[in-house]
Symmetry: C2
Subunit: 276 residues, 2 copies
Amino acid sequence: MAGRNWFNELHTSSSGILLEISKPIAYRKSSYQEIWIFDNPVFGKVLVLDGCVMTTEKDEFFYHEMLAHPALTTHPKPERVLIIGGGDGGTLREVLRYPEVGKATLVELDRDVIDLAKRHLPSLSISFSDPRAEVVIGDGAKFVKTAKSSYDVVLVDSTDPVGPAEILFSEGFYRDIKALIGRDGILALQCESPFLHMDFIKSQKKILSSIFGRVNFYNAVVPTYPGSLWSFAFASDSVDPLELKRKPPEGLRYYDEHIHRAAFTLPPFMRDEIER
Amino acid sequence: MAGRNWFNELHTSSSGILLEISKPIAYRKSSYQEIWIFDNPVFGKVLVLDGCVMTTEKDEFFYHEMLAHPALTTHPKPERVLIIGGGDGGTLREVLRYPEVGKATLVELDRDVIDLAKRHLPSLSISFSDPRAEVVIGDGAKFVKTAKSSYDVVLVDSTDPVGPAEILFSEGFYRDIKALIGRDGILALQCESPFLHMDFIKSQKKILSSIFGRVNFYNAVVPTYPGSLWSFAFASDSVDPLELKRKPPEGLRYYDEHIHRAAFTLPPFMRDEIER
């Protein structure tokens, strides 16, 4: 490995990943975080926020497809979608694959993330130019507290639940979202790794269940994320997460109607903890 | 990370994993390979062969349960099981959970792997003392060429398809197994990562399909393996991989009858390549 430069990220106190930096692409210290993009021969461009890999060109489809499509295929009429976070644009791209979506509002705290994604991650940020996309630069927690519109689907595409993103996993935040989506809406959010963060997932289950009538979890693999097995929460009062209302769009790489059902099938070690 | 010792393994030319070595446990250069066991605060004891993580105490259940149980729950009468490789004992442990199994023969090339697993990985090697376990030290490819017994299920628990294990992915080897299991038997084998090794998986599908009437693939997550999404091949002439003949044993952590079906649900990017 001599003469080569390596990025490393610890996923636990004593384990992590290594990625070669074949070419630094961009570095910016924004008002909120350090943003770094570098190229890797296998994973393509890698987006790093405060030392944590957010996404890579090679494996981003696992995460973005699985955050967006389970909610979009099961909502009866997903016309208005709100995305909290997701400044790289990947979740927005998946949402706008549906002609039913008339408007998708993305609320991102850090303008610089969107700016750098538009310049350097075109396969993710492609949908910022869609006329149905509305971008709000601001605090997602404040936005949902004061928003006047209602939404059919809210997707929380946050960083890990530490620092600025901690509030995006709080009861108050979820109550504000509930007020925006009403009885018929769906909230879906990334919810860390069942392999490494089961206590966190259990606490989220408890909070969400105090607000929404139905709370389910589903899993996908995200190779560059801690633990690789990654969970998402699906919360609603009225929507059955296993009843698909429409076909998924063409051209997806990880998600389809069969993977949808498979993803909601939790392994015993996770099911036992959540249902306890 | 100063003052701490780190193991790293490249999973591709330019990506890999990092594991802290909190305590070296054993190191031996056997006739076949370098065997290393060290302790990690999160993953427990880690078994490394020639620089590649074979298994860790924390995540071994994903792999061993998923190699053994799909074949064991679908075979009509799995009385005799042959394991090729698997010297750590994890697959043997899963096989012997079934009272139907009267004898499980494990053929391991490297006596030192079994010896070190017995000493240092008791949660994996526990079943070597089961009276139904038979251990043969020798070359798995030669064993299946000359074996006189027949088997109901053959599980290939090999290292990656380079060096000594290359023959365990060859047409001749599979033909010899076919002769031992006949029309009613099942062959299941670990088959690398769909995320990183799709060309290899396609070539295996082609070879296996020239020998067995039905060839299916299924996936599981194995956090410490390259790509994290890991595939297994399931080959038989007569057994429907989705028709379970018995309940799985109690106490499993990843596998159950629902995960069984979910695992055979392939994501589009893999299904499209395999069915092409």
